[in-house]
Amino acid sequence: MMLGSGSEPDDLVRAVEATLFATAEPMTAEAISAHLGGADVRSALAELAEHYRRRGIHLVERGRRWHFETAGDLAHLLRREREEVRRLSRAATEVLAIVAYHEPVSRAEIEAIRGVQTARGTLDVLMEAGWVRVAGRREVPGRPVVYATTPEFLEHFGLGSRRDLPGIDELRAAGLLDPVEDALADALGGGTTEVDDPSVG
């Protein structure tokens, strides 16, 4: 018997449970606390998450916001009557992955990785889906806009935070998230040099 899974939930746990069931939007611990008159809801959230871990619905934290969702292993039962999630083009999925693994990242940096210009509509599609947002400008000449992912991105892909991006630790350890120039400098053990490379840019 796991702690809390069979015991009676206390009033605060019940209140947090009811609040998260009723809300139409995911909520941060702070927002839940404010809704419940300032109570400390941290342990209640932990208890609920544990309680629901083996049930048909799970309590999950995505980018600091909590919500209930159906268990992933039941997907095949629930998916049938649902409308299909919009299908992304290959270009859009690549751009989304680059933004997620490199954020904040400029359009030029995205293009350097993909080796092609990115159609204007591609980023628009991702922003319209609510997964990518403009995250300011880089303080370099030209002050390019940089892009980053949103809490809705984490929610949609079931990620607690960007640290949960598949394989991100391995990619970082392998240096595959570093710019080519840095990797080249490392490999050659010297400074970087200007190279006449038509495939760049």
């Binding site: 069931f21 009723a22 809300t23 139409a24 809704h35 919500h67 209930f68 969702e69 159906t70 268990a71 992933g72 292993d73 997907a75 095949h76 039962l77 629930l78 998916r79 649902r82 299909e84 999630v85 299908r87 992304l88 083009s89 290959r90 270009a91 999925t93 690549e94 989304l96 992955a97 680059i98 997620a100 693994y101 990785i113 993909r114 080796g115 092609v116 929610e155 949609h156 892909f157 079931g158 990620l159 991006l165 598949p166 394989g167 991100i168 990619l171 392998a174 595959l176 998230l177 080519v180 990797a183 080249l184 490999a187 050659l188 040099t193 190279v195 490379d197 038509p198 495939s199 760049v200």
Partner: protein, 272 residues
């Protein structure tokens, strides 16, 4: 209950990409027909590199260059129209190949090995992001594999006003109501004025005897003339004389002139 025990049928993401399917592209015919399928030369190079079926870090750049150049040659032989960047890449790779093969006396900067490594690093990075995208898309996705509550009641916060007012404000407000509404007797004092009739008579009389332009202020009685020193009476006289002047102008008996806004107003009789 076989439904539940059944493995998920659609967890794969095979339909997600609408780019060229790598399996289909292995057919040579498909390779050449799917020319529009690649997103630029780097994409094509990565596809070719993956056909070497080795770790991208151990890939043979020379073999890759040969494959690319062969592809471009055959595409040209088939008279397929190639985008400029594919040709630029072909030229650059041909240069890279010759630099890698030819013996060198003096080291050029950058070395061909460095250029080859740069290409390799770029292919690795593109491949890494492509794999990451595939893994991302294959996750359980909200609204497709997992679902939020179908009919949440929603949370509503109603604002309730907590009205504040204190004893003093209350009493003061009553005092002010009383003060404001206490009947007030207004005494209207008689004030010395020049009536419009007086002014009209005076201005017409003066215009009758003079032909030249006269400034309006000249129509006023002299300050030394008894009560006319009173500034309030003089203001009244000026206002009445001005209205009289307008009235005479309206009747066609006088004309008015003013050189600028707020400038001196002059008056002249109109002779019939």
């Amino acid at each position: 209950m076989d439904r539940i025990a059944e493995p998920a049928l659609f967890t794969g993401d095979e339909a997600e990409w609408d780019g060229p399917a790598p399996a289909a592209a292995r057919e040579d015919a498909a390779l050449y027909l799917a020319l529009d399928g690649w997103e630029g030369p780097l994409d094509l190079l990565l596809d070719l590199a993956r056909r070497q079926k080795v770790d991208l870090r151990k890939i043979s750049i020379l073999a890759l260059v040969d494959q690319y150049l062969a592809y471009i040659e055959r595409a040209e032989a088939l008279r397929l129209e190639l985008a400029a960047d594919y040709l630029v890449m072909a030229a650059w790779l041909a240069y890279l190949k010759s630099a890698l093969l030819l013996p060198r006396e003096e080291q050029e900067e950058p070395s061909p090995e460095e250029l080859a490594m740069r290409l390799q690093l770029r292919l690795q990075r593109l491949a890494a992001m492509r794999d990451a995208a595939a893994r991302l898309m294959a996750r359980d996705r909200l609204g497709r594999d997992v679902f939020a509550r179908g009919a949440p009641e929603g949370l509503r916060i109603d604002r309730r006003n907590l009205w504040q007012c204190d004893w003093f404000e209350l009493v003061q407000a009553y005092g002010q109501v009383k003060a404001r509404t206490t009947p007030v007797v207004h005494m209207v004092r008689e004030r010395p004025v020049m009536t419009l009739d007086t002014a009209l008579a005076r201005v017409s009389a003066m215009l009758g005897v003079r032909l030249e332009w006269i400034e309006l202020c000249e129509f006023l009685p002299a300050t030394c003339d008894g009560d006319w020193a009173d500034p309030r009476l003089r203001r009244s006289a000026l206002a009445s004389s001005f209205v009289a002047a307008l009235e005479l102008a309206r009747l066609g008996k006088a004309e008015l002139a003013q050189d600028e806004v707020f400038g001196r107003l002059r008056l002249r009789a109109v002779r019939a």
